[in-house]
Symmetry: C2
Subunit: 282 residues, 2 copies
């Protein structure tokens, strides 16, 4: 496995792989890799013959007051995981390498960035779409792998790829969870032991929502109230949103029909956590 820090070196390594007739699978990450990332690397390795993982904590997708400075950066640990799980190239650029000259160009995806996390993280999604476009243009992948946990991110990026005719496929892989159901996230390590046990409630809450839909409830207000009730049982959880939205448009659906997301964002202490579950309401 090769590790490169410059755009030129990444391009050279990938060009060589292309010339050998290999297909390029790409897993963009902010590092602090966990089992969710592992599942993406493994999915890429099953599907493509050359797997590129980027490790870059993108300053442009953090808002003021967010955790840019404290975000974990365990690069040796990350490289070991990449190597063990079959990555061929790790691209770990500095912010200077990615934004050395001031970036004046921004990509915005309208409408899909407005609901859910949009109001809570102004500027976040344009940071995500812009860095993804940059990375895609460097890596030129056949397929890019994202996790379902960040459902809105996946929908937004898929739309950007479609609208801008980017020649690549977006593959969304299932959320990987801890034994108690908590979705794997690099931010889980911010949690104290008691917060960590509170955090398991998030999955219980969205599962409860799924369960109610499967039992025939179609009233969105009733479903939101049911999910909210589960979260409210734990005093340490501050709810940002509980929503039932269409899985593609991310717009509210009421009565609930088709494939919907039961989506939740909470804060536990100073840690923001999101999770969701896709339910087919028929």
């Amino acid at each position: 496995m090769e590790v490169v820090k410059t755009i030129d070196a990444a391009r050279a390594a990938i060009k060589q792989a292309r010339q050998q007739g290999r297909t390029i699978g790409f897993v963009p990450t902010m590092g602090a890799l966990h089992q969710g990332h592992v599942s993406l690397i493994e999915a890429a390795a099953r599907r493509c013959s050359f797997v590129v993982v980027s490790v870059f904590v993108n300053p442009m997708q953090f808002g003021p007051g967010e955790d840019l400075n404290t975000y974990p950066r365990p690069i040796e640990h990350d490289l070991a995981i990449c190597k063990e799980r079959g990555a061929h190239l790790v691209f770990a650029p500095s912010p200077q390498e990615m934004y050395g000259t001031e970036c004046l160009t921004w990509i915005d995806v309208e409408r899909l960035t407005e609901p859910l996390c949009g109001p809570f993280r102004p500027g976040h999604f344009r940071g995500v779409t812009t860095i993804c476009a940059k990375l895609f243009n460097i890596v030129l992948p056949d397929a890019v792998f994202f996790g379902q946990k960040d459902a809105q991110q996946a929908v937004v990026i898929r739309r950007m790829v479609m609208d801008l005719n980017m020649p690549l496929e977006i593959v969304v892989c299932p959320t990987v969870r801890e034994p108690d159901g908590l979705a794997m996230s690099s931010r889980n390590q911010y949690l104290t032991a008691s917060q960590r046990s509170q955090a398991a409630t998030i999955y219980r809450a969205i599962k409860h929502g799924e369960d109610r839909i499967k039992r025939g409830v179609r009233d969105a207000g009733e479903l939101v109230a049911a999910v909210t009730d589960v979260l409210r049982q734990v005093p340490g959880i501050e709810i940002q949103y509980v929503r039932i939205v269409d899985n593609e448009t991310l717009q509210p659906v009421d009565p609930v029909s088709g494939k919907v997301l039961v989506a939740v964002a909470v804060r536990i202490g100073s840690t923001r956590l999101i999770d969701n579950i896709v339910v087919d309401a028929g």
Copy 2:
């Protein structure tokens, strides 16, 4: 020369050329081809072994009240020119093909789109950058050819390419002019005979500005006044702007130094015309 109307057919033809080891030169146009476009096609043919010309009147770069509906679309004439000048592929999609599903994704280049034509054509540059990104992602060219007449467009697109790490080179070719100096433009054909003769004043005005700089004038106000005076001698010309700006940042420079643009936008009747000249003020 092949002519295709769908994205899939364009991709297939270009992929085949790539597999033959050819380099791809791309000339994006709105059709109504003139000698300026011819020079771009010829530059692409000198530099690359497979030349793609797109002919697409992009609705998204026209503002309300602009000439989208009357913009000339002489497709047979355009195809003849492409063939004669060495294009290998013409991509002439419908608006439906390019924007069939509603486009929610937009690319904005900050700052560089604000001066000069920016205030007169709100939304124009985001239309240009977005369609260019779409076309670049379809054609995947090694080099793309633009004309110096649209100086701000070239600066904005070059910046987008740099900021988003697009793997291609932007080549800007000199403005091609009529014998009396009028810059070639598809919009020149809107002019009546008397407007056409008035339009020659634009080049005389910017040449006058160049002349004053070469004679040592460095005061931007004095230079703008000198250019404006030439334009004002012709009653049919309505001035939108006369500016002396840095050739890269497009910001005003005073006293004038380095490479500057003497840039002008006017209306003659209902026709909007722009022109510029690059001067090295040392």
